[in-house]
């Protein structure tokens, strides 16, 4: 398998220079390096520029409703634990329309990987503010400046019991590749929130903006990703310096691992037969 084996015949519809390309390269590289095949991957996409990528990545695909990618992925994973289930959605999808699902999916810890394309904007709908837009930012929907404060996906995920909480940058495909690999290998819910500059609508959070501010937690010898308190602290850092990398990882059992009925063959692969209900009717007799 090579990266190009994950390409489809569909021409990418993203703007030239879009941060989504970097995420896609990293994702495909990660799939190749993990030895995964298109047949064994389910890519669940949200609705947005990012979600349109489901057309360009060769795998089983599910193009969900806006905000609803996560529950779909959870259901899919429980039904077939042999599949690698990866979700990709924009920040509007993840933390706006789908915020409740995000928190509960983190709590539930189904073994799926969530890659959010965080461009601090609604891009497909031409540039309104998103939950991850900084307070005060002027956008089409907030011409006088955004009143709400920025939602913090790292803090939210950590507070909800996240077992793999990380942040990547689409301008650093190599680092992102290794982060996505770790995320997919993690047995449980893994969040990779990726800074993804939108070159068309976002004139603030540019590639340069991030390059000037980012520091890599993975390279800090005194940072241990198994320390929840330290993770919470780093998650709050924002401004002139912004951390990225793996904030936190633990070994909490995944949702599916708790279900004895999922031992053995995946649910969806078991032959569907008429169940004997004689025993069950006794309760009502």
């Amino acid at each position: 398998m090579q990266e190009k084996d994950f390409n489809t015949s569909y021409e990418p519809s993203w703007c030239p220079g879009c941060g989504n390309f970097g995420i896609f390269i990293a994702l495909k590289n990660a799939l190749v390096e993990l030895g995964l095949k298109p047949d064994n991957v389910l890519l669940v996409a949200g609705i947005g520029c990012s979600g349109n990528g489901v057309n360009f990545l060769k795998a089983y695909g599910w193009h969900s409703l806006h905000g609803r990618a996560l529950p779909t992925a959870v259901g899919a994973k429980l039904a077939n634990q042999n599949m690698t289930v990866i979700v990709m959605a924009g920040d509007g999808d993840s933390y706006g329309e789908g915020m409740a699902h995000f928190i509960h999916a983190v709590r539930g810890n189904a073994n799926i990987t969530y890659i959010t394309h965080d461009n601090s904007l609604y891009s497909l709908t031409t540039g309104q503010s998103a939950p991850t837009t900084d307070k005060g930012t002027r956008t089409k929907s907030t011409p006088d400046g955004l009143i709400e404060v920025r939602a913090n996906p790292m803090s939210l995920a950590l507070s909800a019991g996240g077992g793999f909480v990380s942040r990547g940058f689409s301008g650093q495909a190599d680092h992102l590749t290794s982060l996505i690999k770790k995320a997919i290998n993690h047995e449980g819910f893994s969040l990779v929130d990726v800074f993804q500059p939108c070159v068309t609508f976002n004139k603030i959070n540019t590639f340069k903006y991030y390059l000037d501010r980012l520091y890599n937690l993975d390279e800090q010898s005194n940072y241990k990703a198994n320390n929840l308190e330290a993770a919470h602290k780093e998650a709050l850092v924002w401004g002139n310096k912004i951390p990225y990398g793996l904030f936190y990882q633990d070994k909490r059992r995944s949702y599916g691992d708790h279900l004895p009925q999922l031992k053995g063959q995946p649910l969806a692969k078991r032959p569907v037969k008429v169940r004997n209900i004689d025993q069950l009717t006794r309760e009502f007799a």
Binding site: R68, V74, L78, L280
Partner: protein, 579 residues
């Protein structure tokens, strides 16, 4: 009124008085004694206090409806006298807790009501606890109707066995004390005697549970739900049996998540189902469209309650029919059906899973609180009629032979062979955007038309096997009664109670399958009718509107009820007589 052959027993008091458990025991006792039962609970949407009633009809023939009037009323508090005494039939009996409830003996005498005051509280305390007043009253009832305690003892034992021997023994004591009290203090024989008959192989079950059981028999793999009365007992039942049946049951964060989770599981190949009530179904509507567009099988159950908004959470209504027919933006095929009772609900439980697979479309089942929470006796279910048909799901061998597989390939019957994720060579996108044969987003004009038409052709296929509306009574009669769903019970129960002369002039048409709509059959029946009576639990006659839309026939004579209560038998009998 000696020797009445059916009995209506009603127990009432505050929530927390053990009314439900007394009712369930009563039902099981008489089921095992060879009788048929239907029950109906009235309760407000709160946990303690309020006025709760549990009414059971016992009959020698199958019964699926309730009377307005009762034969025995058990009053556990004063409020019951105020609320329910007027519902007692002449010749009936009032059992009340004389420690707590005051009644006028003169009034009872005047109304020809047997006065059975029992110090339920003192007797229960003596047996071990005041909470057992319900069981004392149950024992009293057994003596009154001539039912020995043999079966009752067993049922009481089973009911409390999980709580330990002491609790069981106390309850048995309470039961016997109630029985003995009436034996010693009451001289008149009660008008309705219910001795043990030959046992039948029946079960006592709600349509919620039977539908769940039908789906389990039919290979259900994944069930998701968010609690909402009156659908919650499906979740409770399936959650309870999940690990032993190999089923995954997920209580998700909201109904939007529920629908999408189940959809994800179905996409992978697991037979999937969700249930809710109107409000939850409203949240699922966008996802319903996604099921339609991605052609992913799904069974959705709506157990209706009074709407709109929070409405009447614990009461019954049939006002979601038009909503189910139209929910979600855009046009796409769906199948809508409505069981008339717990037996039909069982069959629809497995049938719906097959049809969802065969037509790769959402199948909606419309039930309601009356049958969803009402227990009835039905012959014990078996799996004789249960068949598995997964439609055009491909095996790996079949898929491997296909050169350029397209999940949404345009086919003559509209149904495209379905690969499941994980299979070799079956890659496709299940796409919420309009898509081409492979699932790629596609907005071309011709592709759009081809895909829309392809999806609709599936419904033409379904029409070929869709069962016709059911006809009861005299099939040639010119007076036609039309109904759907849970009114089956009250319409048929009332019909059999009519004099033969009236009966012979009536035919009855039940719609189990509401969409696609059988316009030809409907026209044939209604055009050959002189008088038509439509019966529905909603304010405008939603089935009448559907019939008008599909056939142009306007039904003027509508019997509509929308106060949250089911039709009582008295109301239907009088309407049928007037027809």
């Amino acid at each position: 009124m000696q020797n009445k052959n059916n009995l209506t027993w009603k127990i009432a008091g505050e929530a927390g008085f053990g009314i439900k458990s007394a009712g369930m025991m009563f039902g099981k006792i008489f089921m095992r004694a060879g009788y048929e039962i239907f029950d109906f609970t009235e309760y407000p949407s709160l946990i303690r206090g309020g006025h709760n009633t549990y009414q059971l009809v016992v009959d020698t023939r199958p019964v699926n409806s309730v009377f307005k009037k009762n034969d025995i009323l058990v009053a556990l508090n004063q409020n019951t006298i105020k609320q329910n005494l007027a519902e007692l039939n002449s010749g009936g009996a009032l059992i009340y807790d004389s420690d707590k409830v005051k009644v006028s003996p003169a009034k009872l005498k005047n109304d020809h009501v047997q006065n059975i005051g029992i110090p339920l509280t003192s007797i229960a305390k003596e047996a071990g606890g005041e909470l057992m007043r319900n069981v004392v009253a149950l024992g009293a009832t057994m003596y009154l109707v001539g039912q020995k305690l043999t079966i009752a003892n067993k049922v009481v034992k089973e009911t409390f066995s999980k709580k330990g021997k002491k609790i069981v023994d106390n309850n048995l004591k309470a039961l016997k004390a109630g029985y003995d009290f009436v034996k010693e203090n009451s001289k008149d024989e009660f008008m309705c005697q219910l001795p043990t008959l030959a046992a039948k192989d029946n079960i006592f079950i709600t349509a919620n549970e039977s539908m769940a059981l039908g789906a389990v028999a039919g290979g259900l793999g994944f069930y998701a739900a968010y609690p909402m009365t009156p659908s919650s007992s499906i979740l409770h039942y399936l959650a309870k049996i999940a690990s032993k049946t190999g089923l995954v049951v997920k209580h998700a964060e909201d109904e939007i998540s529920v629908a999408n989770m189940a959809l994800g599981a179905s996409h992978m190949g697991a037979r999937s189902m969700v249930a809710t009530s109107g409000g939850g179904f409203a949240l699922m509507t966008e996802t319903l469209g996604l099921m339609g567009l991605t052609e992913t099988p799904m069974v959705l159950i709506n157990v209706q309650r009074g709407g709109p908004a929070t409405g009447l959470p614990t009461w019954t209504e049939q006002a979601d029919l038009q909503f189910m027919l139209h929910a979600a933006q855009g046009d796409f095929p769906r199948i809508v059906m409505a069981p008339g009772d717990a037996g039909e609900a069982f069959e629809m439980g497995h049938q719906a899973l097959n049809w969802a697979d065969m037509y790769q479309a959402p199948v909606l089942i419309l039930s309601d609180k009356l049958i969803g929470e009402g227990n009835t006796t039905v012959p014990r279910f078996n799996t004789k009629n249960v068949k598995i048909n997964r439609g055009k799901i491909l095996t790996q061998a079949q898929l491997s032979k296909i050169k350029e597989y397209g999940r949404y390939k345009v086919t003559p019957d509209g149904i495209s062979p379905r690969a499941l994720p994980g299979m070799k060579g079956g890659l496709f996108i299940a796409n919420s955007d309009e898509h081409d044969a492979y699932g790629f987003s596609n907005e071309d004009s011709q592709n759009r038309i081809d895909q829309v038409d392809k999806r609709y052709r599936k419904l033409d296929q379904f029409r070929k096997i869709m069962p016709k509306p059911l006809i009861y009574g005299n099939p040639k009669a010119k007076k036609t009664v039309v109904f759907w769903g849970s009114n089956k019970g009250v319409v048929l129960d009332s019909y059999v109670a009519l004099p033969d002369k009236i009966k012979s002039k009536i035919r009855i048409m039940q719609y189990q399958y509401l969409w696609p709509f059988d316009a030809d059959f409907t026209k044939k029946i209604l055009d050959s009718s002189k008088d038509i009576l439509l019966i529905e639990n909603n304010p405008n006659g939603q089935l009448a509107n559907l019939i008008a839309q599909e056939t142009g026939i306007m039904i003027e004579n509508k019997l509509l009820k929308y106060d949250g209560r089911p039709f009582f038998r008295e109301e239907i009998i009088s309407a049928l007589k007037k027809l």
